[in-house]
């Protein structure tokens, strides 16, 4: 048997067989492992949402447990539009399906891809000057939705928000839960794709997240007010949290994504919590000590950031 191994024909045939075999093998591996991988991603998201509630029972839940108990805690899954109106609402009796992107249930808040919407948004920002009339109009036209999860525990409701943005190197995202009054932060979970290890990556750790507890996202009058991340060691009031040293750009990203999304969530929460939580707001005002001048200063830095 003699085959000319140096010939072009042999080389072509070898290449074709190799590509077919390898391609088939990889397709097989991928389709076999896909369900397990989807399950992991789904459970991790459930774990993050449960941890963000910040109640004792769910604070240390493991990834596998999360899938099992998620629907015991999360009673409603709501999708909001840019103006804070409800687009769709599902109760916990509707099971969550983890499926490939093409087959996802678009009406389920659990499947809202906030990272994709963030990319849509940055596209708009590049096209139109931010804050202008054109930008506002385009923002309303573009379908950018906001998922909200409602948790019920001992007769109290918690609202869990979910958002995404850009850190120093890559995507960052987070979950923040608000108490029944719709303004006090009850827990937070942040995660990132590739922030600097030991610096920006510490947004996932307890010290950073603990400082969010009890902070508020609105003024006593109910106006939305963004949370600011300060350099470590500074004195903070109830809308400022302690940042990490050496992670300035990660902070900027955290502030930006929280501001952008919580502004929308607060529109919705203001409406639904106005009636039932007036006494709570009064209680809160005793502990809030903030002078008008320092609030003014924060607005100014905001404007400076926006100009940049």
């Amino acid at each position: 048997m003699s085959i000319n191994k140096e010939g072009n024909g042999y080389t072509m045939i070898f290449a074709i067989i190799m590509v077919t075999v390898v391609g088939g093998l990889l397709a097989f591996v991928s389709s076999t492992l896909k369900p397990t991988q989807m399950e992991n991603v789904k459970n991790e998201k459930m774990q993050n949402i449960l941890q963000a509630i910040g109640i004792e029972e769910t604070a240390t839940v493991s990834r596998d447990e999360a899938g099992a108990i998620f629907n015991d805690y999360i009673t409603k899954r709501i999708i909001l539009d840019y103006d804070g109106n409800v687009i769709s609402e599902l109760s916990n009796e509707v099971p969550i399906k983890a499926a490939a992107r093409k087959r996802i249930d678009e009406t389920d808040a659990f499947n809202v891809d906030v990272r994709k919407y963030y990319n849509d948004l940055t596209g708009l920002m590049k096209k139109y000057p931010e804050g202008g009339a054109e930008y506002e109009a385009a923002l309303k036209e573009e379908v950018i939705t906001y998922p909200l999860f409602v948790c019920e525990k001992d007769g109290k409701e918690f609202y869990i928000t979910y958002f995404s943005g850009k850190g120093l190197w890559d995507d960052i995202w987070g979950y923040i839960s608000l108490q029944e009054d719709g303004r006090t932060i009850n827990g937070s979970v942040f995660d990132h794709k590739g922030e600097t290890p030991g610096l920006g990556s510490k947004i996932t750790e307890t010290p950073f997240n603990d400082d969010f507890l009890g902070k508020v996202i609105t003024t006593d009058e109910g106006e939305y007010r963004p949370i600011k991340v300060l350099k470590p060691g500074l004195k903070r009031n109830e809308y400022q949290v302690q940042g990490l040293s050496g992670a300035t750009f990660t902070h900027v990203g955290v502030e930006e994504m929280m501001d952008r999304s919580l502004a929308v969530y607060s529109k919705y929460l203001k409406g639904i919590t106005a009636s039932n939580t007036l006494p709570v707001i009064n209680e809160m005002s005793d502990s809030t000590m903030i002078s008008d001048s320092s609030y003014q200063m924060v607005i100014d830095t905001n404007a400076v950031l926006a100009l940049k």
């Binding site: 140096e6 042999y10 190799m18 390898v22 591996v29 991928s30 992991n40 030991g198 307890t206």
Partner: protein, 222 residues
């Protein structure tokens, strides 16, 4: 090669296994595969999983290339090697994502970058393409272990001094609650968490290794 059947662990084969661990270590002597050694050594468990992944890819790659060594057309041999390595790496990546999701998250792109690990392509080209399967397997195991050894040693010191832990267990106490060593003012070394410290540690390793084995010192260097 002689017609007589060679013993499975002949002297020559044992050398294939032991050389890469010390005398011809791929990282410290050949200075290959440094990039991943710098990046995934912040925690021990990452380093161990990464070593196992590289070991698997190297052994399987060596075996497959060695089996096909008489069939691979020399015109496209680099492409064939790349396809084999890439396919193996994708399989490893998929398996990690399915069964050790957390580790796969912290290794992130570095699993995919095993494809570009110079050790693997180097061994395929230098050894597996010209030798029998059994020898190639041993060569793969040896080089995989040699790479893993450095990774684990570097990760040991980086995790211990960078975050006071080993495999996630707190060795020096809890830095947040200020227990153990931290109560008397000890602080973690932040540099240890960053890639440059791996270079320093690898350099110290090479220094000790060459001090102990004078035959490694290049006579012509002076």
């Amino acid at each position: 090669m002689s017609e007589k059947k060679e013993a499975l662990f002949s002297k020559k084969n044992k050398k294939l296994l032991s050389d890469p661990l010390n005398l011809n270590n791929p990282v410290t002597i050949q200075v290959l595969g440094i990039c991943s050694a710098l990046a995934v050594t912040v925690q021990m468990d990452n380093a161990i999983v990464m070593s196992v992944a590289v070991l698997f890819v190297m052994v399987m790659g060596n075996l497959i290339v060695s089996l096909l060594r008489n069939l691979i057309p020399s015109k496209i041999k680099i492409i064939v090697q790349l396809v084999i390595v890439a396919a193996l790496v994708i399989i490893v990546d998929q398996v990690l994502k399915a069964y050790v999701y957390d580790v796969s998250k912290s290794l992130s792109v570095f699993v995919g970058l095993i494809i570009t690990n110079c050790i693997i392509m180097g061994r395929l080209e230098a050894y597996a393409l010209g030798n029998k399967p059994w020898g190639s397997i041993l060569d793969g195991v040896g080089n995989g272990l040699g790479y893993g050894l450095i990774l684990v040693v570097v990760a040991f010191f980086k995790e211990l001094f960078g975050s006071g832990k080993l495999l996630g267990f707190e060795i020096f106490g809890n830095s947040i609650e200020q227990t153990g060593l931290y109560s008397i003012g000890y602080e973690d070394n932040g540099l240890m968490l960053l890639p440059p410290s791996s270079l320093i540690l690898v350099a110290i390793y090479i220094w000790i290794q060459k001090k102990r084995t004078p035959s490694l010192i290049d006579e012509n260097a002076n």
